[in-house]
Symmetry: C2
Subunit: 250 residues, 2 copies
Amino acid sequence: MSGAGATAAILIIGNEILSGRTQDVNVKFIAGRLSARGIKLREVRVVPDEEDAIIAAARALSGAYTYVFSTGGIGPTHDDITAACMAKAFGATLEINAEAKARMAARCAERGVPLTEGRLRMTRVPAGAALIDNPVSIAPGFKISNVYVMAGIPDIMQAMFLTLEPGLAQGAPVLSRSVSGRMLESEIAAPLEEIQKQYPDVDIGSYPALGKDDPHVSIVLRAVDEQRLSAAMELVLEMAKGFDPAVAVI
Amino acid sequence: MSGAGATAAILIIGNEILSGRTQDVNVKFIAGRLSARGIKLREVRVVPDEEDAIIAAARALSGAYTYVFSTGGIGPTHDDITAACMAKAFGATLEINAEAKARMAARCAERGVPLTEGRLRMTRVPAGAALIDNPVSIAPGFKISNVYVMAGIPDIMQAMFLTLEPGLAQGAPVLSRSVSGRMLESEIAAPLEEIQKQYPDVDIGSYPALGKDDPHVSIVLRAVDEQRLSAAMELVLEMAKGFDPAVAVI
């Protein structure tokens, strides 16, 4: 499957993000993996653990992009409602998945713990959905329609993502180069815009960082075509050296 | 102004977040401040630095919530298109703001640097918008309709937010307590759900953390009413002590 034009969105289901209690780190991980695979991440949404909000966002993103990756809300407690919401969003019934239950039962037997109601709850999956393996703690994620539903805990989410990743489209990876130095954005703005105009197929971004009276800017160039990227990079580098001869290249 | 029912969304304008290059930290800061002020953060969206995406998201969020806080894209370089997009989104013209220009000119004179095209670009604001002071680097943010448009650099964004914050609604702050201990979510799920049913006005969340064979769970209770919060907390604490007598209370 070609990744040309494959797009993606991330849906974070997380009261703990919206309350400011937890720092999300899942977006950066998924975004980096998608970027390396040439899949364009076009949108991220964070919504509360509420049925209407989850269903509306899942449907909107599913209709707009090739893939949706959701994280959070698939645990065993009362506030974990993602599986039920995804079933509703795509018109499926939520049921105990035989394979997921078998895996959970085997793990319980292995550890000598009972297959409680709570553990069983984590094996409920929308009918027809494909399981996403959970190498860390057994309870699986699942794929329904074009939505990959994963855990919110970063370690588990990452393990799940790595198991599903080979099934995603493979696009031309986006190559990236960057130049960082002691420059002022307001001074490089005009020459940088000229370079961008010459290389519309190279995405040139300028990111200032604050330092105490020591302003630094990182200029990031991203493109699929290595030759075009290098050519644009040469112009940016020459321009940047006019402001800071000791500019760093990454 | 009463904050009863005041809601908010955050709009992050950021290719650098969607590419996985940069870890967003603005959401956590704004979310924490809003939470303390009793304003409910209901949604976060991250969109690329593209006109259509920015305008569509700004309009959608502006229509759905009391406040929208945007970060990113108000610098002087070609990839900073937020001010122009916000003007378009709300039918205003983009123009050099006299007050912003005066501040920028004064700063330039003070530092003996020229008022370049790039610096002037940062004084363009939609007509009729109110300025948001920038105590760090002069170039202001602005408020148009119910959208507060801020810089993306965390230090500057935070300084801007603190200057605008007194103008926001003041709601009853959401109080929070939490219990953390060696528990399994699948085992506390049933008793915790019982407590949630008794206290529907207390928002009870369960957040597992992975440890090597040492699973911990944080149970977070959030409510406006301190007495109801304390009563629910007592039940949660008693329940948690049944699993881990050394449970920690925060």
